[in-house]
C-alpha cells in the first residue's frame, strides 16, 4: 500500500462528478426500500427480490465497473499515471493500492447501501440483510479487482465491462446453469443464501466454492494487473 497513491486516487474518485455515479444507484436502492416501507409492510420475499435483482444483479456490477476501472483507466488514458509510475515504487504495490481504493468504495457504496436497504425493509429477519451485505462485499471486491484488471489491459475497459456484466452475468449466467458457476453475481448470491435462512433465496453454487472463487479471482486479477503495469508502454503520438 502506498498512502500517496491512495490519497490521489480517492481525490480523483470522490472529488468530482464520479462520486455522483457511485452514489446514484445506492441512493436509488435505499430510496426504493424507504418507499416500500412507507407504502405498507414489505415482506421478506419482496426484500429478497429487490436485493437479488437490483442490489446484487444490477448495482454491484455497475459499481464494480465504475470503481474498478475508474481508479486506473482514466489515468492511463490521459497519461497522468506516469506521475505515479515514474517513481521508485514497485508497480504491483501501485496496483494493490488502486485495488484497495476501488474495493473500499464498492464496500461503502455497494455493501453498506445493501445492508441499509434490506434492514429498512425487514430489519434482521432471516438474516437477509447480513447475508446480502456480506455477499455484496465479497462480490464487490471481486468485481473491483476484475474491472481494475480490465482497465489496465484495455483502453475499452468500460465497453468490455458492460458486455461482461450484461451478456455474461445477465444473460448467460442467468439462464445457462453451468455458466453460473463462473459468475461473480452467483457467488455473491450464494454467500447471501448460505448466511440467510430465507426460503425465498436459492443458489446453485456452494459457499466453499463461492468464497474460494472470489479469493482466486481477486488475487489472480491483482497479480496480473501488477505485472501488466510493470510493462505499461507509452506509444507517444508518433
Amino acid at each position: 500500500m502506498n498512502a500517496v497513491v491512495a490519497d490521489i486516487t480517492y481525490r480523483a474518485m470522490l472529488g468530482r462528478k464520479r462520486i455522483w455515479l457511485l452514489a446514484l444507484l445506492p441512493a436509488a436502492l435505499i430510496g426504493m426500500a424507504a418507499l416500500l416501507r412507507l407504502i405498507g409492510g414489505p415482506d421478506e420475499h419482496t426484500a429478497v427480490i429487490l436485493m437479488e435483482k437490483f442490489s446484487i444483479g444490477t448495482m454491484l456490477p455497475l459499481l464494480g465497473l465504475i470503481a474498478g476501472t475508474g481508479v486506473i483507466a482514466p489515468e492511463i488514458e490521459d497519461g497522468t499515471i506516469i506521475h505515479l509510475l515514474a517513481k521508485p515504487i514497485s508497480r504491483p504495490v501501485i496496483a494493490l493500492t488502486k485495488f484497495v481504493v476501488a474495493a473500499s468504495l464498492v464496500a461503502v457504496f455497494g455493501a453498506l447501501s445493501t445492508f441499509i436497504a434490506a434492514f429498512l425493509l425487514i430489519r434482521d429477519e432471516s438474516g437477509v440483510a447480513y447475508g446480502f451485505a456480506l455477499g455484496a462485499l465479497l462480490g464487490g471486491v471481486a468485481y473491483a479487482a476484475v474491472f481494475m484488471l480490465v482497465g489496465v489491459i484495455t483502453r475499452h475497459a468500460v465497453t468490455v465491462g458492460v458486455i461482461y456484466a450484461l451478456v455474461w452475468e445477465g444473460l448467460v449466467g442467468g439462464y445457462v446453469p453451468g455458466a453460473r458457476t463462473f459468475s461473480i453475481q452467483q457467488w455473491a448470491t450464494s454467500i447471501a443464501d448460505r448466511i440467510s435462512s430465507s426460503p425465498f433465496l436459492t443458489s446453485d453454487v456452494s459457499l466453499g466454492f463461492a468464497v474460494s472463487a472470489v479469493v482466486v479471482v481477486t488475487v489472480g486479477s491483482l497479480v496480473w494487473a501488477g505485472q501488466r503495469l510493470r510493462s505499461l508502454s507509452l506509444t507517444g503520438d508518433e
Binding site: 490521459d78 506521475h83 515514474a86 505499461l232 508518433e238
Partner: protein, 317 residues
Amino acid sequence: MTMTTTPATTRHSVVELTQVSRWYGNVVAVNDVTMTIGPGVTGLLGPNGAGKSTLLHMMAGFLAPSGGTATLNGQRIWRNHEIYRLVGLVPEKEGVYGFLTGWQFVLSAARLHGLPSPADAAARALDLVEMAGPKDRRIETYSKGMRQRVKVAAALVHDPQVLLLDEPFNGMDPRQRLHLMDLVRQLGEQGRTILFSSHILEEVERVAQQIEVLVAGRHAASGDYREIRRRMTDRPHRFRVRSSDDRRLAAALIADPSSSAVSLTDQGIEVQAVDFPRFTSLLPKLARDLDVHLWQVSPTDEDLESVFSYLISRSSV
C-alpha cells in the same frame, strides 16, 4: 550510417542505447540506434514523427526496445523501477492531475520518492521554476506553460542525476521559455545528464552542447551543434522565383556560378544555389539590370525535414 563529431571533452556514459530498434507491427519507429548520453545537456533533434518520443520513452523505461539494449549506468532500464531514484521525467503529454494544486502535485512527487523533507524539496523545486506564487491554485486553472513548469518541478523534486524532457518548451511564452532554457543549461553545467527532445533547431542551439539528430527513426548525426550546423549550411539551397520575365531571368542566373541548376516550370523558376550569399545579392541586382519585376522569391527546402534529409544523404555518402 551515422555522422559523428568527437566531443570536446571526455564524458562518462550514463544513458546508453546499443543497437536499439522499436517497431509497431510492420512500422519501424526507431531503427538500430546506438548513442551514449552523458553529463551536460544533449538535444535530441528531429522532425515530427522522427521517433524522438519513442526513443525517449525507451530511455525512460516506458517502452521496451524491440531489439538492442537501453541501460542507465549499466543497469537495464525496462521493468526496473529503481532507475527513477536517478531519473526525472517530463513527458510531452499533459500528465498532471487537474484537481490538485501545483503544491499538492509537486509535494506528492516528493512523497512518492520517499524524500526525508518532502515539503522543503517541493518548495525548492517550485522556486526553481518560478511557480511559488500560483502554487496554491488548482492545476486545471493553469496555462499550458504553467502546467509544463509544475511538471518540471515535479521531475526535479528529488534532485535527479538524469533529466529526460520530451518537447519541454512547448506551450510556453517567450519569457518562460528563456527561463526554462537557462534552468536546463544551469542544471547541465552542474554535471547532470540532461536529454531533451525538440523539433526546433533554435531551441536546441540555445541550450545543448551536444546534439543527436534523428530522422525517420535513424540516427542521422551526433556531435557538437556548431559542427552539425555548419554541415547544414553547406548544402545547396533551393528557391522558387516568380517574376515578370522568368525566361530572361533564368538565362542570366544560369550564367552565374552561384547557381548550379536553373529550371523553368509552370510555377516559375526553380533555382539550386550553391553559393548562398552570392546568389542572394545577385538576384536583386540582376532583376534591376534586366528590368524584371520580382514577384516571389521563396526557399523550397528550408523546413527541418529537408535539412535532416540532407544530413542523412550526407552521412550515407
